[in-house]
Symmetry: C2
Subunit: 130 residues, 2 copies
DNA sequence: ACTAATAAAAGTAACAGTTATCGATATTGA
DNA sequence: TCAATATCGATAACTGTTACTTTTATTAGT
């Protein structure tokens, strides 16, 4: 019987799935509260970890202290703007090349990796030119 | 007059600089307490952030909740063992290749990146073969 | 449809890592 | 040596997250 249906979990996933940014748990909490006013923050955390375990979502940790969530579980990487802190998806053709390069000098077994790029997003880059 | 000398800061940096693992603040605190018994945890945190701002050390965030510190600020990446949780440096030749690949489809300016590899370290790989 | 079993809920307390505050101390330029 | 002030130790406060407890909702079997 393992996993039961819950409308709170649906609401969380529904909110997350049409998003391109990568909201944190409390942003999700505030948003979902609009349709589920009685939802508890604990419920949000619990369901986010359930959704992660079942592979419906993934986490993105950009080093700002909080965990971000992403319903796009396809193979992609992330860019963090050092100016405004925004997080964007970044496409990388031939990303597997990275694993190859890394494996050259490593004795263990590399099963995966996450790359976080940083710099200026296109908006901040534009502003810095003025 | 900006930055004054402090033996607490020296002790923290001295401890960190001969280390290849990447201790957390409280590991550093416990270690430095042996030579500076009265040092406060707040002092450790404060100095770690000062050392980071001055570029003497860098932070490594492997997703275990705590921030790790590394006195090796040269261009290198990190590997995290999914079995034992150890963190190792990983050398990457042709690292600039990665930036190139990433820049292909990105409008902003990429100034750097961190890659966190995960898998089995050589020790755990050895054990798993038995 | 009813019921029993139990997953999941809300609400709240607890926790870990970190940051901020404050009076006392140590370092430094004059 | 002295005044200015960065840093200190001690501790309180804050943030993100997890755990606990009682109540509610979902589901499988009749």
């Amino acid at each position: 019987m393992a996993l039961k249906h819950s409308k709170q979990r649906d609401a969380i996933y529904d909110f997350l799935k049409d998003r391109k940014d990568h909201p944190t748990a409390d942003v999700i909490y505030e948003a979902v509260r609009k349709t589920e006013p009685n939802i508890s923050l604990g419920t949000v955390y619990r369901n986010l970890s359930v959704l992660k375990e079942t592979g419906m979502i993934r986490t993105v940790e950009v080093g700002d202290g909080a965990v971000h969530f992403d319903a796009d579980v396809s193979n992609h990487n992330h860019f963090v703007c050092t100016e405004c802190g925004c997080v964007e998806d970044i496409e990388m053709k031939s990303i597997d090349k990275v694993r190859e390069i890394a494996s050259e000098n490593f004795d263990g077994k590399i099963t995966g990796f996450n790359t976080y790029f940083y710099g200026l997003c296109s908006d901040c880059l534009e502003k810095s030119k003025v």
